[in-house]
Amino acid sequence: MGSPSTPAAGDTPAAPARSGVPASGGGTRSGPGDGAATGTAGGPDARRGIDRPRTLRLLRYVSGRLLTAAVSLFAVVVTSFFLFRILPGDPVRALTQDRAVTVEQMEAMRREFGLDQPLWQQFIDYCLGMLRFDFGVSYQYRVPVTDLLLDRLGPTVLLAGTGTLIAAVIGLALGTGSAWRRGSVMDRANTGVALTLWSVPSFWLGLLLIVALSSGAGLFPTSGMMSPGVTGTFNAAVDVAHHMVLPLATMVAVVYAQYMMVMRSSLLDEMGSDYLTTARAKGLRDALVLRRHAVPNALLPTVTLIFLELGRVLGGVILVETVFAWPGLGSLFYSGLKVPDLPIVQALFVVFAGAVIIMNLLADLVYPLLDPRVRS
């Protein structure tokens, strides 16, 4: 890593858009670094204004955010339809590739998929369906896409949720430690390892883990979510946990860096603040100063980041799920793209982008509650 003197306040990794979610729609917030940048001034003791104008302002704030989110969501729905129509290749030909089929059979399939309709008709049907949460029928699985999404949502939420939780806890702890001993060997090692892992392609890391720990050491299953033929709730839970170790490790290794770096830099910011000097002047022990005063304030940007990332992580597990054959939304997206299975990729595009939008919205709405400065 760079010279020991480099880490300065605000040197967050600029939260690169590395996840698999197509960058679109979402951007109502500019980035997790913002919170840290505002962290030096003022304190939690903001004026206690009363009243009407403030409630009104809050109302305007909330409705503004809601409107932005709705508009973004609509843009995503429209984009999802046209984006994937540009994809070259005829899904019917892709599906029947290498098979003996008659022209009549192919035409029947086109009719069934609605691909014989003019584009505007398909678009209207798509939008109307969307209003009823009806994403159409998958070309390759021949079941309603909504059913597929519900089926696969659980495994993805399990993996992405647990992964985010672990990554956040590790990131917060290491970030706090690093900031507290800025410039130490441990800090430099931490930052170096975190940034290296952050730049590692997750499928490559996944394969590496499989080679080393699955087929090599025989410790974990190479892929899947459950062994066939496992019965009983407890056994099944243990089996799933066992299957989850490697995908989880891959995911956590790659994403914890951003939590760590944000926590580190925002804590560094806080550590220069006057109120900490005051706290110490009152005779409080350093550990107490850190825990009671510095960390809670520094947590703010990190918590926002966690919210924002929750949306993105949902789509970001595409590669991890594919490598480990984890039966979630990510591997579904991959299998949909290969055909292309339009109803699936459209629906997942909306779900992934929608998750980012909704998490942005939640972050926007929760932020004033956490940080009074935003309210005024």
């Binding site: 599906l95 390759q140 021949r142 441990m186 394969l207 087929s215 025989g218 170790v245 350093d286 054959a325």
Partner: protein, 618 residues
């Protein structure tokens, strides 16, 4: 610097908040990681060695449907081959047609009426007898219901009727003669179950288990995108299979499949790359099977895209209408080089259109008709035909068109990509510049169907009955309107069509039919529009500590996965018990792992504290 001076310094290093955090974390992490595998060895063991009579097969495609009427994918049709029976089968060793549900058959003189005698000793897995009525109903449903025709409609396109005058007689009336009557790859379903289905388009046959069938195995479980489980049908009329259970596990990544085989999680994998096969060769308890190819790799040359009515479209290079140029292109390509450099020797250079493994139909050019690799001969052909060499080393056609050709290659097929590069080099040797477009299959398909290409890669798996792959080069396969072509070349030749009709009508004399098929390949070869390059080997590997013996088709030299029949699974025998499972048990290994993880965590923790102390001493 200012910030650094203000940095608080912990007084009691061991008791600071961060180290407590880390300690807690390390402890929690170690606990979780340690607990998981320790609690799970039962699962791991069951997967690896626990059940000797289970064969687990890795597959890379998800199942599209378990309904024989709509399932299109190779994985699905392979599973359906195990759970349903067919009218006739292909012999495991010779690939010849053998009796299936039909014991014997006869044809009327005009070839339009076929009468099959159906076995009377077959029962469905629910105990009901299987009769000719079930077969007639299956065929009739495909004929009458568009949704049910999705997968196998092509087989019955010529059917007038399919009737069952009595339980052991099936009578099929045709509108035209059809030589493929003994190659009807249609799974027969039980009428008493399927007649209750309302909509064949949406019924996937994947809710009620076990699925009623009559094949050597019965589908007993299905987890979408994860696995399909089948159990042996102990009453199977050919005799019960020795493996009690088959599990097809979905693992999309090939490298992950290889690792799963190594770890013993799966027992059979297929579709290996030469590098993967080489890596597995000689590993303990793993056998690699190198099968002769069922598939050919080829490229087609755009001779001018046109519709059946003769309307020209697209923008193929005008010089490619010249057979001499097309033949010169063939002479410039070194197929042996491709076999060695692209396939590492795991392929055969291709002669005719039908892969060499189908001995009856295989054909190779002889004598003067051969267009073997010979750069000088190719250059001379072009010189003689008036293709003048330009100053830039690229020839110009007699009409003044520079010989710059677009070549479309599938970017998802590493072998094609390498082949494309080699061809680009070789064609430069004869003054043809190649614009190598390695693209998404969808882009390639669009270019083909719009006629906007010059050279395009292709490849087909060939069935024991070659009718379909031959049929896609008849004039009838040209598009009715641009974009609706059936095959992969705008080929149309009167002589070829005549031969095609003759072979299709030759339903009583297989040798004579094969003769016509060979003549068709000679026409294809000479016209040099459809050019085969190689028949690549099928590379597979299995655990020999689980699978004792497994039947290949054809035998010898055949493949295990994707057979025209169910022989690999119905005839496989488990390895003798106790041969596997050497080495440490999963539990012990898990314990070691937990200890290692704990050790690393403790080490990290110790280092952390040391560094903290060191800083305090500053």
């Amino acid at each position: 610097m200012v910030a650094r001076q203000q940095q608080p310094r912990p007084r009691s290093p061991g008791r600071t908040a961060p180290s407590r955090w880390v300690g807690l974390l390390a402890a929690a992490g170690a606990l979780v990681i340690g607990a998981l595998p320790a609690a799970a060895p039962s699962a791991a063991a069951a997967e690896t060695t626990g059940d000797d009579d289970t064969m687990t097969i890795a597959v890379s495609q998800p199942v599209d449907s378990l309904s024989p009427f709509v399932a299109q994918r190779l994985i699905s049709t392979n599973i359906l081959r195990l759970s349903y029976d067919f009218l006739t089968n292909y012999d495991a060793e010779t690939n010849e047609t053998i009796p299936g549900l039909a014991e014997s058959w006869e044809t009327s003189e005009d070839g339009l009426t076929w009468t099959f005698k159906i076995r009377d000793d077959v029962t469905w897995s629910d105990g009901e007898p299987l009769t000719a009525e079930d077969i007639a109903w299956t065929y009739t449903t495909i004929m009458e219901d568009e949704a049910a025709a999705k997968a196998n409609g092509n087989f019955v396109a010529n059917f007038e009727s399919a009737e069952a005058p009595d339980p052991t007689t099936l009578k099929i009336t045709l509108s035209e003669r059809q030589a493929t009557m003994l190659a009807l790859d249609i799974p027969i379903v039980p009428k008493h179950v399927w007649e209750k289905v309302d909509d064949f388009g949406t019924f996937n046959n994947d809710k009620d288990f076990p699925v009623v069938g009559s094949g050597p195995f019965t589908i007993t479980g299905y987890r979408p995108n994860q696995s399909v489980t089948l159990e042996a049908n102990t009453d199977y009329w050919r005799g019960a299979p020795e493996f009690e259970k088959l599990v097809f596990r979905f693992i999309p990544e090939k490298d992950a499949q290889v690792e799963a085989l190594r770890s013993g999680e799966v027992d059979l994998i297929s579709g290996l790359t030469p590098a993967q096969a080489d890596a597995l060769q000689g590993e303990e308890n793993i056998t690699v099977n190198t099968a002769s190819g069922k598939r050919f790799q080829a490229f087609t040359i755009n001779p001018g895209a046109r519709t059946q009515d003769g309307e020209e479209f697209g923008d193929g290079h005008p010089a490619l209408k010249d057979k001499t140029l097309r033949q010169a292109i063939m002479r410039a390509i070194d197929k042996d080089e491709i076999v060695q450099k692209v396939y590492g020797g795991y392929a055969e250079p291709a002669g005719g259109y039908i892969p060499a493994r189908y001995e009856r139909y295989a054909w190779s050019p002889e004598g003067d008709e051969r267009l073997d690799f010979d750069v000088d001969a190719a250059n001379k052909m072009l010189d003689d035909a008036g293709y003048a060499m330009g100053d830039d080393g690229v020839r110009v056609s007699p009409d003044g068109d520079r010989l710059k050709l677009r070549m479309h290659v599938h970017n998802n097929r590493p072998d094609y990509v390498s082949m494309g590069r080699l061809m680009q080099e070789r064609l430069a040797d004869i003054g043809i510049e190649v614009d190598n477009r390695t693209v998404d299959p969808g882009v390639l398909s669009d270019a083909l169907h719009n006629g906007k290409y010059d050279l395009i890669f292709t490849g087909w798996s060939v069935n024991p009955d070659p009718d379909y792959v031959l049929g896609i080069h008849t004039c009838d396969a040209l598009p009715e309107t641009p974009g609706t072509m059936r095959g992969d070349a705008y080929f149309c030749d009167r002589k070829y069509d005549e031969l095609y009709d003759k072979q299709l009508a030759e339903d009583s004399d297989p040798e004579k039919r094969a003769e016509y098929v060979k003549q068709m390949q000679a026409v294809l070869y000479d016209e040099a529009v459809v050019n085969t390059l190689t028949y690549s080997n099928l590379l597979e590997a299995y655990r020999s500590d689980v699978i004792g013996s497994i039947q290949v088709q054809p035998d010898p030299g055949g493949n295990i996965w994707g057979q025209d029949g169910h022989w690999s699974f119905s005839m496989a025998t488990p390895a003798a018990a106790g041969s596997g499972g050497t080495g440490l048990s999963a539990g012990v290994m898990a314990g070691i792992a937990a200890a290692v993880v704990l050790g690393v965590a403790a080490g990290g923790f110790f280092l952390w504290r040391r560094s903290a102390t060191a800083e305090d001493r500053e």
